[in-house]
């Protein structure tokens, strides 16, 4: 088990390196001059040239890359002489559009996205898996058909449609909830829950529908396995067969999906955040793209990628813990 994890961590570091290089090249592939973007309409060629040197954009690409990576680990100082600017560790760059260090922007946005993603995740796992199990248990009966029918509808509703529907009816028409105005759960828990409820539901309904179908098909497949027949042949009651023998095996593949879906959302639920004005990573990324805020774009891409890669590692370790056959590899 231990060598397995160590090997996986090495692979992860390798992948992160590749990813950072790709992300960095993305920064440079954009057909604008990053230095030109550092000042507004009153720009003069002299300021642009000075900023280029100050940000190290006159250096060869590999030097820029190394400076960027070093900034993440030890921080960096832009410029020299009297006009220096310190960017604290982990330094992801400076956003001129926001007049703020990118790290600060990211750190403000991450908790919002995290609350959104984790809350929706818990909801959809609870609803999706339990209804999938019920459907599988009553395979072919009305419970099964009802759950599958409802989940098909849920699965067919795109987030932008469902989110807007909630917004228009629950908030605008029926005034059941105040207009979304994000507040930290530690400062104003009531406003927090009022704001988060609909975004949670919007995401959870879509994913719950998918997980209900996934759980049902996994459970049905598992219930047809030979070892389930063996368990019955031993004289185990149907309840023990289902709970002890079928459930664990049937839910294993769901761990993979769940980990990756959660990681994907942690990178930013763009549409949901946008609809409900949540200042999360997704909205930060969209804002950065429309504003040509290059350091912020790079940073959000990098963060989302890190989430996915780390989730992958956790999923692999979990999988090995659940399924003894994986441990040898």
């Amino acid at each position: 088990m231990f060598p397995y994890i160590v090997r996986r961590i090495f692979i992860m570091i390798f992948m992160l390196t590749i990813l950072s290089i790709v992300t960095f090249l993305l920064f440079n592939a954009v057909p604008t001059d990053p230095a030109r973007l550092t000042c507004g309409k009153t720009c003069t060629p002299e300021i642009v040239a000075a900023n280029r040197i100050r940000l190290g954009l006159d250096q060869p690409l590999y030097t820029q890359y190394i400076d960027w990576i070093r900034g993440i680990f030890v921080g960096r100082t832009y410029g020299s002489g009297s006009a220096t600017f310190d960017c604290a560790t982990p330094c992801l760059g400076y956003s001129f559009r926001n007049g703020e260090e990118v790290t600060v922007l990211i750190l403000d946005a991450v908790p919002v996205t995290m609350y959104l993603a984790v809350g929706a995740f818990l909801l959809w796992m609870l609803i999706g898996i339990s209804s999938g199990i019920i459907a599988a248990k009553h395979h072919g009966k009305w419970q099964d058909r009802a759950i599958m029918g409802v989940s098909l509808v849920g699965y067919s509703l795109p987030v932008f449609f469902l989110g807007l529907l909630f917004l228009v009816f629950v908030i605008v028409r029926w005034n059941l909830l105040p207009y979304p105005d994000y507040a930290s759960p530690f400062e104003d828990p009531v406003a927090f829950f009022q704001t988060m409820l609909l975004p949670w539901l919007t995401l959870a309904i879509l994913y719950a529908a998918y997980y209900a179908r996934l759980t049902r098909s996994q459970m049905l497949e598992t219930m047809g396995e030979d070892y389930i027949r063996t368990a019955r042949a031993k004289g185990l009651s149907e309840r023990v067969v289902f709970r002890k023998h079928a459930l664990r095996a049937g839910l294993t593949p769901i761990v993979t999906s769940a980990g990756l879906d959660l990681a994907g959302l942690l990178g930013g639920a763009v549409i949901t955040e946008y609809i409900f004005s949540l200042p999360g990573l997704g909205r930060l990324a969209i804002g950065a793209v429309t504003d040509y805020d290059l350091p912020t774009i790079t940073a959000t891409v990098l963060i989302a990628a890190v989430f996915v890669i780390v989730a992958n590692l956790i999923v692999d370790i979990l999988y090995a813990a659940i399924d003894p056959r994986v441990r040898l590899t």
Binding site: E225, R229, H245, P324
Partner: protein, 343 residues
Amino acid sequence: MTNPNVILEVKNLNVEFTTDDGVVHAVNDVSYTVERGKTLAIVGESGSGKSVSSLAVMGLLTGANSKISGEVYFNGNELIAADPEAVRKLRGDEMAMIFQDPLSALHPYYTIGDQLAEAVRVHNDVSETQALERAAEMLAKVGIPDVDQRIDDYPHQLSGGMRQRVMIAMALINGPELLIADEPTTALDVTVQAQILDLLRELQKEFGTAIVLITHDLGVVADLADEVLVMYGGSAVEHAPVREIFYSPQMPYTWGLLASIPQISAKKEQLDPIPGSPPSLLNLPKGCVFAPRCTFKDQVADHACANTFPELLAVSPDHEARCHLSETQRNTIRAERKIGKVN
């Protein structure tokens, strides 16, 4: 009727499955008895209904689309109409079953010790430690080496033969009176097959377990069986003591099975397969189920083979067969073709 020596009596068993394509007649009017400590082999091709009939006996056909009728007496108690909960309590305790592929039949996530101990604890009120001790004892008995370490192994860490030994240990751990072995050696190497059969024979002697052995391998039958039931297309077509099946077979399908055994002494380059393929159980032929593949159907007058399904008739006191051919015709054919040992 109730012979105290009979552990299992199956009477007029029928199993049907309703599918989207129609009704599958998997088992049609099959009857047999198994005596305590004896072995009945059920022989037939894939899809002849041999596995389905024994799953029905075990009460393991629980799908909503299956319909079972007939009677199954285990120790004198009828099981088909009985409370499923009562049958569940017999399963794994007084009657047990082992399956064809031991890798897929063992749960991949639990150690073999856990799986055996579980089997003990379903039917006995003992602690986990006691159950594990019993498991270790049984594993040693079926010839698992280094039981102390092996008991914590997962099924995938064992070889195919070892896995089947584990399955046998699990089936016999509560000392059942009846063991149904569904093709126990089919998935194994030939050398391992012999070991498993030896093991079954030894354990049968020790525990006095009756065995229903489901197989398509006549070599296995000759090795282990006391009695043989030949099944074809969901019906019993011949039923006799093992000697009779090999020495005096009465049904053309049984002849075909015997002729298709490879023989080292025969100076032939090719085997003699039975022409054609087994009938679809969705749509059984009108007359004899075997008629479409039978080489001898033209020797019977009035196309009887194509029109009426022959009765299972006694050839001798303990030998029954379904065939329209007269005894003289059968004897002539067997003599000509050297089927069985014609002295």
